[in-house]
C-alpha cells in the first residue's frame, strides 16, 4: 500500500514547513544566503530552484534506501563519514563565499587579482559555486542534501519504519522516498524566503549587505568546519 494518500505524507509536509522556519534556516540558511549574495546578475530564481531540487532529490534517495533496508542505523553508519566531509565542505564553501564577497579582505594584497591566494579562491569558488551554466547548482544541492541534520534523521527513521511495514521492497522504496519528498518540499518555503530576503535590494543596499555578510559568512563557515571536524 503506497503512502501517498496517507496522513503521514501531510504530517511530514507540515513538519518540513515548521522545522524549516525553526531549524533549517540555521543550518542551510547560510548556504542559501551565500548563494543569493553571490548571484549578482542574471536569473536568480533558477539557481535556487535547482539547488532545492538537488537537495530534495538526495532526501528522496536516502528515504528510498531507508525504505528498502528498513534500517536507519545501518544506512546512517555507512554514510556517517560522507556526512562529516559534506559538513566540512559546506563550511569551506561558505568561507570561500565570504572571502570573495568581502570588500575589506580583497583590499589585502594577498587577495588582489593575480595573486596566488586570489587565484586559488577564484578557481575553487568557480569550481564550487560559480560554475556556468546555472545547472551547476543542482549537483551542489545533491551534495549538500547529505548535510547531517537532526530533523532529516527523524524523517529518515519514519521512512525506515514505513519500509518495514511495506509488503515488498518496491513499495518500501516508494513509501520511504515519498515521506522524505514531503519533508523536503515542506522545507523549501523557509529557505526560499531567506534566499529572497538576502537577494533583494538595489546595488547600494547589496553592497551594505555584502560588507556585513562577508564577515558573518566567514564566521558561520568556521563554525560549520569546527562542527564537521567534531562530528
Amino acid at each position: 500500500m503506497y503512502i501517498f494518500a496517507d496522513t503521514l505524507f501531510w504530517v511530514f509536509l507540515t513538519t518540513g514547513f515548521t522545522v524549516g522556519f525553526g531549524h533549517c534556516i540555521g543550518m542551510c540558511g547560510p548556504i542559501v544566503i551565500s548563494m543569493s549574495l553571490n548571484l549578482k546578475t542574471g536569473n536568480t530564481v533558477w539557481p535556487h530552484v535547482l539547488y532545492h531540487t538537488g537537495r530534495v532529490s538526495t532526501y528522496c534517495l536516502l528515504g528510498g534506501i531507508m525504505g528498502v533496508t528498513g534500517s536507519f542505523t545501518m544506512v546512517t553508519s555507512q554514510i556517517a563519514l560522507i556526512q562529516k566531509i559534506v559538513l566540512i565542505f559546506a563550511g569551506v564553501l561558505i568561507i570561500f563565499m565570504g572571502v570573495l564577497m568581502s570588500p575589506w579582505l580583497t583590499n589585502f594584497s594577498c587577495f588582489k587579482t593575480g595573486t596566488g591566494v586570489q587565484t586559488f579562491f577564484s578557481k575553487a569558488f568557480s569550481l564550487l559555486v560559480g560554475l556556468k551554466p546555472t545547472l551547476a547548482y543542482f549537483p551542489l544541492g545533491l551534495i549538500l542534501g547529505l548535510l547531517p541534520c537532526g530533523p532529516v534523521y527523524t524523517v529518515l527513521i519514519a521512512s525506515a519504519r514505513a519500509g518495514m511495514e511495506a509488503p515488498d521492497i518496491y513499495t518500501g522504496f516508494i513509501n520511504g522516498m515519498v515521506l522524505m519528498l514531503a519533508f523536503g518540499i515542506g522545507t523549501i518555503p523557509a529557505l526560499s524566503l531567506v534566499g529572497r530576503l538576502a537577494g533583494v535590494g538595489g546595488i547600494k543596499q547589496r553592497q551594505m549587505i555584502y560588507k556585513a555578510a562577508s564577515i558573518i559568512m566567514i564566521g558561520v563557515g568556521i563554525y560549520f568546519v569546527i562542527k564537521g571536524i567534531q562530528y
Binding site: G22, I33, T73, I157, R206, A212, A213, V220
Partner: protein, 147 residues
C-alpha cells in the same frame, strides 16, 4: 517601492544577525540545559510520581548513545492505563520533527518499544522523552545522551 528598498536590506540584516545568533538562540547554553536534566539515564532508571502512583523510565543498552537502536521501557505503578504509552523524543527548545516510540505491553504495567535518538550536528546532547499516558497525562524526562 521606496519602502521596499529600505525594508528589505533591514530585514536581510536582521536575518543575518538572527542566523549568526542561531547557535545560541536555538541551542542555548549547555550549562543552562544541564540544569534542566532530571534523569540520570546513563547510570540508572528514572522515577517520577504521577497521580497517586509513579512512572519508571529506562533506556537500554547503556551507555545510551545517539544513532543506535535503543529499547525504551516504561513501568507504571498504581496506575491503570487504558492504552499503551507513547514516547515523544525531542530536544528541549529545538524543533526536531516527530520522533515517537510506540510501546507494547510486556506484562501488566510494563511497556517496551524500540526507537532511535538522533544526533544533532550542533553537538548538544540534552534530550527529552515525554511519556504520554492515555487518559492520565504525561511525564517529562530530560537526560544526557552520548554522541
Amino acid at each position: 517601492m521606496k519602502l521596499n528598498k529600505k525594508i528589505f536590506p533591514i530585514l536581510s540584516m536582521l536575518l543575518l544577525f538572527f542566523i549568526v545568533c542561531m547557535p545560541d538562540v536555538l541551542f542555548a547554553s549547555e550549562s543552562k540545559k544541564k540544569k534542566q536534566i532530571n534523569c540520570d539515564i546513563q547510570n540508572q532508571q528514572c522515577v517520577q510520581p504521577i497521580l497517586n502512583g509513579s512512572i519508571v523510565f529506562d533506556i537500554q543498552p547503556k551507555p545510551v548513545k545517539a544513532m543506535k537502536d535503543l529499547t525504551f521501557e516504561v513501568k507504571v505503578k498504581d496506575i491503570n492505563l487504558t492504552g499503551s504509552p507513547i514516547i515523544d523524543l525531542s530536544m528541549p527548545g529545538m524543533k526536531m520533527g516527530k520522533n515517537k516510540v510506540k510501546m507494547k505491553m510486556i506484562v501488566k504495567g510494563v511497556y517496551q518499544g524500540t526507537g532511535i535518538i538522533v544526533r544533532c550536528p550542533s553537538g548538544k546532547t540534552i534530550w527529552q522523552a515525554t511519556i504520554n499516558l492515555s487518559g492520565i497525562g504525561s511525564a517529562n524526562f530530560i537526560f544526557d545522551v552520548i554522541y
